[in-house]
Structure formats: C-alpha cells, structure tokens
C-alpha cells in the first residue's frame, strides 16, 4: 500500500496517496471537473493542469462550484426569514 499524506480539502483534514495529483483526488471524490474551480494553496489552477499537479503534505485545497444565489447575499437574508404581506 502506498504511503499517505495529510492535506486539507475544503477546510477539512483528509488523507490521500503520497503520489496523488489534484486530478486523482477529484476522481476519488467523484467530482466532475467541468464547472469546478480548484485553488491549491491560494493559487487558482487551470483545469488542464489538474492531472499534472501533485499533492504534498499540508497542502490546502479548495474545490468550489456554483450554487443558487441571487440578487445578492444568501445566508443572512435567509436567516431572517420571509415576511408575507397579508
């Protein structure tokens, strides 16, 4: 079994193979690469470089995509709830 390293993915600690690339990790997580952005230690990666970038112990990886969101902010407005006019 290959050696493992610990990295951070979206803020959470995670083990991965010592020889894994960003592309390997995305496949392991079953994340389709279209419409995602990947930031490795604050550097935004080009999609074509996912398979060429190897991961190292302590790397901080952020994987982002599009969610519902509007004519502005979501959480704060949602927390207040909606008040329907009678």
């Amino acid at each position: 079994m290959a050696a493992t390293i610990q990295i951070q993915v979206n803020g959470e600690a995670r083990d991965c193979r010592a020889d894994a690339t960003v592309g390997d990790l995305l496949r392991e997580l079953a994340i389709k690469t279209e419409r995602v952005a990947v930031e490795l230690n604050l550097e935004i990666l080009d999609r074509k470089d996912f398979d060429g970038r190897s991961l190292h112990a302590g790397d901080r990886l952020e994987i982002l995509s599009f969610i519902g969101g509007g004519a502005p902010t979501d959480a704060q407005v949602r927390e207040r709830g909606f008040v329907h006019a009678e």
Binding site: N10, A37, L64, S65, I67, G69, A71, P72, D74, F82
Partner: protein, 257 residues
C-alpha cells in the same frame, strides 16, 4: 416589441428580467420559476463543493447552459481581496468572463462599499472581466464605475431582499440620464408594479431574486414579474403623458345638446 434585445459589451440579451437562483425550496422549483420568468440571465454564487455528501444535486444540472447565461456573483464578499478571489474562482469554474461584482459594506443593510467596489472593478476590468457592479443609487459612483470600464451599472432600488420597491426614483432617473451604459436595477423590488416602475423610469433591465423566491407562489410571481418588466418597457418606449393638476376632457364638447 418582438425584437428588443439588451446589448452589453457586445453580448445580446433577450430578456430584460434577470433572476437570482437563491432561496428556493428546491431545484425543481428554481427551474420552474426561472422558466416562468422568461429570464435568460441567471445569477449564481460560488461556494465550496460538498465533498462529504456527493449525492447532493448541483443547481447547474437543472439549468441548460445553452438556454441560460450564467452570471456568477461575488455575494458575501466584504472586502476587495475576497471579491477578487471569488471573481477569479468563478471564471476558473465557468465558461465566461462575466461577473456580477458585489463588495458589501455592512451586514445589516447589505449596502455596497462603493470605494471598494470601484477599486475591485478597476482591477477585474484590467484582467479582462466583464464587470457588472452592484452599486448604490448614487450617480457619481455609477459614473466612476463606467470610467473604470464597467459596461453596465446595477444600482439598487432598495436593500437586498427588503421588498421596499423603488425608494429613490429621482436618483435612479438621474443615473439613467447621466450614464451612457445600460442600467440594470438590482435588488429591492417587491412586486410586479415595482419592476414596471423601474422600467418606466428607463431602466434597461431589472434583476431580482427574493421578490420571486420569497413569494407565496414563486412561479406565479415569476410570471407576474415577466409581465411587469414587459409592460414597463413598453410604457417607457411609448412615452407617458405629462402629469397635470387639472382635468383635460377626453370627449369633445361639439354636438352636445
């Protein structure tokens, strides 16, 4: 008024109602409401992918990219650095250079930090983004956003999600007269007459989310907004009569007994 496209930075938009995709019950409702609104531009936020539960569906599985122009935003960013980071991530995740730029100044009002907004807009325009900034109803700020290269400006009607309607029609009217790029009224409308009013003032489009998503029947409200925007646009182009204090008879006096 069959062919009345809105053109921004050389891109043609068929609908003058743009909608957000937040706060709906589920993706099916989101999709139905967007279809009922007739909008061809939909705004989305950029957030972390849920890596622990991969069974969760993605909003974009419900929105045909051939049918809709996806407009990512920088919602939730309270400083220039965060807004730049999210804009760049949105471009990396997406297929276009469009960004709805938000730099917020205060959590309670969600009013924009206009100094930060202008700075972020200047940087992103230089990086090749098509920057559509969410701004205050301040004509001077609107002009500065145009000066740094924004091809459209999106002033608020009222605070985000407030449903207060057009709070300052006179400022919006000044913006529409002063600013030579398309004006999209963004945020604060509550119902269809608010959308119609914005268009009657001369807005080129209206962007909204909560007014539809928060309605008791979002799909019916989406349709109402479609007609509100359409009626307001028609009335603006038709040219309204001037307001007069006293009556002007519509029927002739001749022929009376």
């Amino acid at each position: 008024m069959q062919n009345d496209p809105l053109i921004i930075a050389g891109r043609e938009f068929q609908s003058r109602l743009w909608v957000g995709t937040g706060k709906y019950k589920d993706f099916a409702e989101t999709k139905k409401a967007i279809e009922a609104s007739g909008a061809d531009v939909v705004t989305v936020a950029v957030r972390r992918v849920n890596i622990t539960d991969r069974s969760k569906e993605n909003l974009l599985d419900y929105l045909d990219p051939k049918k809709y122009i996806i407009l990512p935003n920088t919602a939730g960013c309270y400083n220039v650095e965060d807004a730049l980071r999210y804009a760049r991530l949105a471009r990396a995740a997406g297929v276009s250079d469009l960004i709805k730029l938000e730099v917020l100044g205060d959590e309670r009002t969600l009013f924009p930090d206009t100094a930060g907004l202008i700075e972020a807009a200047r940087i992103l325009v230089k990086e090749g983004f098509i920057v559509l900034p969410y701004t205050n109803d301040d004509p001077i700020v609107a002009q500065k956003l145009v000066d740094v290269g924004c091809p459209a400006v999106m002033p608020l009607a009222a605070p985000i999600g407030s449903g207060l309607g057009i709070r300052n029609p006179y400022n919006l009217k000044i913006i529409m007269e002063m600013i030579k790029v398309p004006i999209i009224v963004d945020a604060g409308v509550g119902t269809a007459s608010d959308a119609a009013f914005a268009m009657e003032l001369g807005a080129d489009a209206v962007l909204m989310n909560t007014a539809i998503a928060g309605a008791k029947d979002p799909i019916a409200m989406a349709e109402a907004m479609k007609y509100g925007v359409y009626a307001g646009r028609l009335a603006y182009k038709a040219g309204r009569i001037p307001r007069k204090l006293y009556a002007t008879a519509s029927s002739p006096i001749e022929g009376m007994l």
